[in-house]
Amino acid sequence: MVYRGPYKVRVEEKDVPAIEHPNDAVVRVTRAAICGSDLHLYHGMMPDTRVGMTFGHEFVGVVEEVGSSVRNLARGDRVMVPFNIFCGTCWYCARGLYSNCHNVNPNATAVGGIYGYSHTCGGYDGGQAEYVRVPFADVGPAVIPGWMDDEDAVLLTDALATGYFGAQLGDIVEGDVVVVFGAGPVGLYAAKSAWLMGAGRVIVIDHLEYRLAKARTFAHAETYNFCEYDDIVMHLKKITGYLGADVAIDAAGAEADGNFVQHVTSAKLKLQGGSPVALNWAIDSVRKGGTISVMGAYGPMFSAVKFGDALNKGLTLRMNQCPVKRQWPRLFEHIRNGYLKPSDIVTHRIPLEHIAEGYHMFSAKLDGCIKPLIVAGS
């Protein structure tokens, strides 16, 4: 798949990626996914997204070729690859901040390396393709356990790990009221994870009925459609005894659909780095002294965030791209115990040839689409 400009992608023949560094591997992709944050690229809102680039940071596959210094992987291994590209030994990696690796992204220091996520994130081609170059093959990928199928594994490369991380950054303690903005994959997983951490009440806010229905069945959450209320923040205050939630998780990010002014200034005119409506709702609806965890994607451009309210309310704001690999051992356990079944949220399986329709469907929220997987090499 190749980006052709805002709202346009097509399938093109490209050279099979080569080993460019002794610790690279080339992976033949079996399953990839389109992620909500890919829409940020697709809509042309992420700086330095170049025509000709291949997207896709969520993928699993089979090792096709390894570089001369690769020791931990061999040809034929079935691997899952975290969306972060990281070296394992820089200041940040040594302290577990894999998403902040300093050795993989020459284009920026504020963000690490991400597959298929613009040159701002290092200029790596992504996995919505037949083959992909995987740098630091000894560090990032893990062999998929025999009992796990590819569709669960692909969701662990970002969406599930990020949702779980979102709940984790909320610092949830037993009995906390947790509100999640956005019932996309990350929001659904964050809501589900909040229970694992002992939440007393989990509330999910969105405007798409089919996603709210999934939040009720998959994540056992209490749900509200913000379109039915003139003021969703006021409603949240009312149902929490006028205190507010203890923890708010922004799982919508800059693609949030706010009011008309926000829609025009961000999504259409690109004057802001995306709409901060979900984040502002989070700031407004959490109680004083509460915690906000931001998991939605925001680009480097400025957004109009209500910082004064966050200050005056004494909020703790926590955020990062998820260091995916740190989450895996625990998430494997939860899946084995039957607490989580990641692939339950998959709604569509699209052949790579039809990826343009896949993007449009996902972007326009057609056909009850929650998570589309891309099936390569069919």
Binding site: P6, V51, R71, G88, C93, G123, V139, L196
Partner: protein, 191 residues
């Protein structure tokens, strides 16, 4: 309740939740969560066997943020800068740090230029850009474009009607200005 010290009561007790929700409380202890504490030393280095990685060869002058001391040991090689958009991109990387709005605004401008350059270039190839297949609009027909939107209380439906105006408006405006400018020049020339 907010005016007293008690927190508002919860609809369900922890015992009720444990019975209802699979895995409730499995990660109850905040100290036993995978990324807490944040800066924990990683003994295993997740399999890295180097102190500083070997360096990937630089096949063309690779643009980099001036906030980096040198080119990082590993980098992506998709789409080297080319054309006028490439010049804008190189300028942005050479001149402005990531803290400057000019850096990002130039890159975004270069993206728009790149899209137009590529579009025009594609018209000279055997495979010109195709607004129908590349935007995936056909899925409006195959994937319930109408029924997905209406009667569903979606927030975005309210302004969807205006989107074509917002998207084409600036082009119409620019076209009008160019037309006016040409006409003025012609008039001046005729005098």
């Amino acid at each position: 309740m907010t005016y007293t010290s008690e927190r508002p009561p919860l609809p369900e007790t922890s015992e009720q939740l444990r019975a209802r929700i699979p895995g409730w409380g499995a990660d109850l202890d905040p100290k036993d969560r995978p990324s807490v504490p944040k800066l924990q030393w990683q003994e295993d280095r997740t399999g890295a066997h180097w102190e500083f990685p070997e360096r990937q060869p630089e096949k063309w002058p690779r643009e980099r943020s001036i906030e980096h001391e040198f080119l990082t040991p590993v980098f992506g090689t998709s789409c080297p800068p080319a054309g006028f958009s490439g010049m804008l991109r190189k300028l942005s990387y050479r001149k402005y740090s990531e803290g400057r709005a000019a850096h990002w605004l130039l890159l975004l401008a270069a993206d728009r230029v790149d899209a137009w350059e590529s579009h025009i270039r594609s018209l000279l190839t055997l495979r010109p850009d195709n607004p129908i297949t590349q935007t995936g609009v056909l899925s409006e027909f195959s994937r319930h474009g109408v029924s997905s939107r209406f009667g569903k209380k979606r927030a975005d439906v309210k302004h969807q009607m205006l989107d074509p105006v917002i998207v084409t408006g600036p082009w119409v405006l620019v076209g009008g200005l160019v037309f006016a400018a040409i006409r003025r020049m012609l008039r001046r020339g005729g005098r």
